[in-house]
Amino acid sequence: MTTVTSTLAEYRRRLATNRLGLWLFILSDSFVFGGLYVSRFYLLGTQGRPDVNQFVGFVVTSVLLVSSFFMNRAETAMAHGDRKTFLRGTLTTLILGAVFLLGVVGVEWQIAPFGPGDGTAASLFYTMTGFHAFHVLTGLIFLAVVYRNGRKGLYSPERHWAVEACAVYWHFIDVVWIFCCPALYLIGRPPI
């Protein structure tokens, strides 16, 4: 019993370090996106925003926000020992994340009346959405691993750091998009 208690105490100590490490990674990744935002706003002073479809922007943004809700639900469920809701929430997040990726790469990129080579604003649009899409893809892989491990019963209410890390990473992707969305779809005059 003493061994179990001390192991759990050790796990909690490591958890604090793990959290700090994850947040440091998130902070460093934010600087890369920060550079892209600065470029985007610099260009807004010299030219309008690219001719993007605001409706598609609204749909993909909504899908990502709802996916964050289900991720939070999944993590909360695991923290309280509700494995069924955890699995359902993780799977829903995975599906919504795939829909988001399809919406940006499969729809927005295809219907955009400009290509990556049509000026700096257009190039930056593809850079920002593409860089974010890669993060989404990474998050989907992470989610698939967590879902698989969850099905095998590898997590418990006391030990589920992987689930927490996956959730924090997924919400980070959401926060990045929260700033990408107005920068790319809303702010600045559309081309005439």
Binding site: R19, L20, S62, L65, F69, R73, A79, H80
Partner: protein, 79 residues
Amino acid sequence: MDEKAIDNNEMEARKLEAFRVGAGVLILLAVMTIGEFWIGAVASAWWAPLLSIAVLKAFFVMRDYMHLPRLFAPEEAEE
């Protein structure tokens, strides 16, 4: 009622409360996103309110979904 049943009930109540907070944040995010796109459609030059909404949305996600305050909790605090 034995001790284990009381623990389970308490855990269930805490879970439901956490679910309720999550749903509340989703509603807030939905309202702000609709407002954001409305402003973007009628006055795309209003960058300040649009960025303010984005900052507010990010704040709620980081506080309630990413649990940023956990980072500052004592190392061995109970979840």
